[in-house]
């Protein structure tokens, strides 16, 4: 088992001071670590999209079959991540560092990106799992238990963000969080895509102060869901995206590249059961809002 790529933030953290903690949870394709930060850090299987504060790991077996268990001690120091009891020693410094901060994405023709990206995503979502995902919110497919419940709440959130009523927007975000069947409830995934897209749109609209408000919304939402899902929400509030979403934004907001954008959409769709589709739904919802970004 060895490190292939690492989120730059995790690498930097590992090179600062020692962080000790425990293994929070173990899945076939991911291990979450509680290291005393706002959110969890993690190991993720190489064939999955790298997530913020995680290291991409090459392993010949699912993590759940490698002996690592929740509660085991874990340590991050001097560029290494170790779980001694499971025999895991990962040299982060030798892995490829990856910047997952979307604030580093140079912005090109945002108006074009908005129009084209929304269309591409909706086309892709037409064959998403309409019974269990939130995709019907943007595809017009028949509503399901969750979309029926969330539709008005999501609409309210979008209205409050458009009105820049940030207190109510944070309440509305909290009012949307934690809804759905999965480990990361669908609405959390939707919010993750939504918050990340808002970061880009507000930056395009020369409103950097909005970033703090998105962070506040994400915090409010994270408090309403489980620790794992909350971590992704907090990271999206801090402009940190998983690698698939990052690639999608870069291939559209920087200089539009159709094949790369389609490929990235496929990779986002492949996340979780419905998580990817839900994230993309959140992206489309944000793209439908005017954040004051300049028109062509």
């Amino acid at each position: 088992m060895y490190a292939i790529a690492v989120c730059q933030r995790l690498l930097t953290l590992s090179q600062q001071q020692p962080h000790s903690g425990t293994v929070h949870s173990v899945f076939d394709h991911a291990v979450n670590l509680e290291l005393g930060q706002d959110g969890l850090a993690g190991l993720i299987a190489e064939n999955k999209a790298l997530t913020p504060f995680a290291v991409s790991v090459r392993t010949n077996a699912p993590f759940s079959q490698t002996g690592v268990r929740a509660g085991m001690a874990a340590c991050l120091q001097e560029g290494n991540l170790t779980i001694p009891e499971a025999g895991i020693f990962l040299d982060l410094a030798s892995a490829k560092p990856v910047d997952l901060g979307i604030d580093s994405i140079a912005l090109g023709n945002v108006a074009e990106a908005k129009a084209v990206l929304a269309r591409l995503i909706i086309d892709s979502l037409r064959d998403a799992d309409a019974k269990n995902s939130l995709a019907p919110l943007v595809t017009g497919a028949e509503e399901n238990t969750y979309t029926r419940f969330l539709a008005s709440r999501v609409k309210h959130l979008c209205s409050m963000v458009s009105a820049r009523d940030w207190d109510k927007a944070a309440q509305a975000a909290a009012g949307c969080a934690g809804c759905g069947m999965g480990l990361t409830p669908s609405s959390d995934d939707l919010l993750t895509g939504y918050f990340l897209t808002l970061h880009l749109l507000f930056r395009a609209g020369n409103q950097p102060e909005a970033s703090a408000h998105i962070h506040t919304m994400a915090q409010a939402a994270a408090a309403k869901t489980n620790r794992i899902s909350g971590t992704f929400l907090l990271q999206s509030g801090n402009s940190l995206a998983n690698a698939a979403l990052y690639d999608l934004f870069e291939s559209t907001f920087s200089a539009f590249n159709d094949p790369q954008a389609r490929s990235a959409i496929c990779r986002v769709r492949a996340i979780g059961s419905t998580s990817g589709a839900d994230m993309l739904t959140g992206v489309v919802l944000a793209l439908g809002q005017n954040m004051g970004e300049s028109e062509p």
């Binding site: 064959d127 238990t145 419940f149 480990l183 489980n226 979780g272």
Partner: protein, 523 residues
């Protein structure tokens, strides 16, 4: 009665949660079920759909996993708990029982006599892993695809020189010493050895051999590119040699798409030299060339199975181009169906999860249909531009296992839902008369691949009837009675949905040809 089960601070992956939710709703006496993490909104949904309890509302947190159900009584709730535990523990048991050493070195420490590795890793790493196995004297079944032709050549050259099997890349099926690997069927042991460069083609032949009461000694896959000039049929050669020297193998069956001419000649010469009766199924290949080597040519996958069984029994093989139900009955059925179509209904749509089965069906029908539009077309000009997103065109056959359909989702033999959706879409086309589909069962396939297909067929036929049309659905199930899904149960599900179920892909194709012939006479 509303009942609740809670597991504190418990995290399960989304796939498990989805599966539990789906399975609980199927239980008798369960009218509603909600599965999830105990966030406020999920509790609110539980209230909305009438499955909330005071405990759920007050004592369950966002980090707790819960199952809330509305059920008829305690007995039904006990069934809910049993099913939930079964699904959760099944995964845990699987993990405990199947400890997988994370490295090859670790595996060899546990058992230094290992002699077969099935490799399924991302393509760019597959060659390295395969070479490590070969270096340790381990035969390889390389399930992974996206391995370059240069890597394949290097691996196979090394394996050939060291007399090791290097099956693949993109090798979907094999049965070695009666152990099925990857997508394979429960086939009786016998004296027919198969070496093949075709996944579902091999499954079709081995399954029909089983259905005819015979069995296989070995099934060796080579990977689809083995008979290309670049590779030179290295594994086909090794496979033929292995079957020649295998005392349990009495008859050899060779299956592939038509190879390059010089490779074909070499393989046929080698097959002839084995000294064992050999059936060759070069799907759509040159029959006379095969027979010029004293070998037995098959006209279809089904025919290959029949001829291999005949040879195994010491009988003289003859072309099998008939119907198990009998000629007269098939013709009468075809005529009856053709009379039901509305004006304008004239096209066939073939929707396949098995690439070779799709290819075979097209080859058996192309002379009659003229043009068959496809994502794996027989002629380049018949390629569909957008097979996944676009509409079918006249006679259209789709291989749902092709890359165009599998990006970001499992192979259709594992998740056939996309194909089922396409059945319903094309059923709305007023020019569509017949929908053909395969249903591949066995290890590795969906636990009940007929379920989605049967539902789609039933709905499609009903919708067509409401629109004043008749939709004919023709299916063939590839598999055996011993498969976990059961051949007869699978066939019955499809028949119950209104499909005409034939025992082989070739018979299904011939039957559709009969329907079309009658339709032309009608019109």
């Amino acid at each position: 009665m509303i009942k609740l089960e809670v597991k504190k601070n418990a995290y399960y992956d989304s796939v498990t949660l989805m599966l539990i939710s789906k399975e609980l709703k199927k239980l008798e006496g369960v009218s509603e079920a909600l599965v999830g993490m105990g966030s406020d909104l999920n509790k609110e949904i539980a209230q909305n759909i009438g499955v909330a309890t005071p405990e759920l509302v007050n004592a369950v947190s966002a980090n707790d996993f819960f199952v809330a159900v509305s059920c008829a009584g305690d007995e039904e709730f006990a069934a809910v708990l049993k099913k939930t535990d079964e699904l959760l523990n099944k995964k845990a048991e699987n993990k405990a029982a199947a400890y997988a050493p994370p490295t090859l070195d670790g595996a060899l420490k546990i058992d230094s006599d290992l002699n077969m590795a099935v490799i399924s890793v991302p393509g760019r790493h597959a060659a390295d892993v395969a070479q490590s196995c070969l270096d340790n004297g381990i035969n390889v079944m390389l399930f992974s695809d996206n391995v370059t032709i240069e890597e394949e050549k290097a691996l196979k050259t090394y394996a050939y020189e060291h007399e090791l099997l290097m099956m693949g890349p993109d090798c979907g099926t094999a049965i070695i010493n009666h152990v099925p690997l990857a997508f394979a069927n429960v086939v009786k042991s016998g004296d027919i050895g198969i070496v093949a460069a075709s996944g579902t083609g091999t499954q079709e032949v081995s399954s029909i051999i089983d259905q005819l009461g015979s069995g296989v000694s070995q099934v060796i896959g080579t990977g689809g590119r083995d008979l290309k000039k670049d590779i030179g049929g290295l594994m086909m050669k090794l496979g033929l040699d292995a079957l020649k020297n295998d005392p349990r193998t009495k008859v050899i069956t060779l299956i592939s798409k038509p190879p390059a001419k010089e490779i074909a000649s070499e393989m046929l010469a080698l097959a002839a030299k084995t000294g064992k009766p050999t059936v060759v199924c070069f799907i759509g290949g040159d029959r006379r060339e095969i027979e010029s080597y004293g070998l037995v040519a098959a006209v279809s996958l089904e025919d290959a199975a029949h001829k291999a069984v005949a040879l195994s029994r010491g009988e003289t093989p003859a072309d099998y181009t008939g119907f198990a139900m009998g000629e007269g009955k098939a013709e009468a059925m075809a005529k009856e169906i053709a009379a039901k179509f509305a004006k304008g209904q004239k096209y066939v749509r073939g929707f396949y999860t098995g690439g070779t089965l799709c290819d075979e069906a097209m080859k058996l029908m192309i002379s009659e249909l003229g043009h068959i539009y496809s994502n794996i077309p027989l002629n380049a000009e018949d390629a569909l531009e957008d097979p996944k997103g676009g509409q079918s065109r006249e006679h259209t056959f789709l291989d749902f296992g092709d890359d165009a359909f599998t990006v970001g989702r499992p192979h259709p033999m594992i998740d056939p839902s996309l194909r089922a959706e396409r059945v319903m879409t094309d059923a709305k086309d007023p020019s569509c008369a017949v929908i053909m589909a395969d249903c591949v069962i066995g290890f590795g396939s969906h636990p009940n691949p007929a379920e989605d297909l049967a539902a789609a067929i039933q709905t499609a036929k009903e919708e067509a009837a409401r629109a004043g049309r008749y939709l004919c659905c023709v299916c063939a199930v590839c598999g055996t009675e011993g498969d976990p899904q059961s051949l007869s149960r699978t066939q019955q599900q499809l028949a119950d949905a209104g499909a005409v179920v034939l025992p082989s892909n070739a018979q299904a194709t011939r039957f559709v040809s009969r329907v079309l012939a009658n339709l032309r006479q009608e019109g």
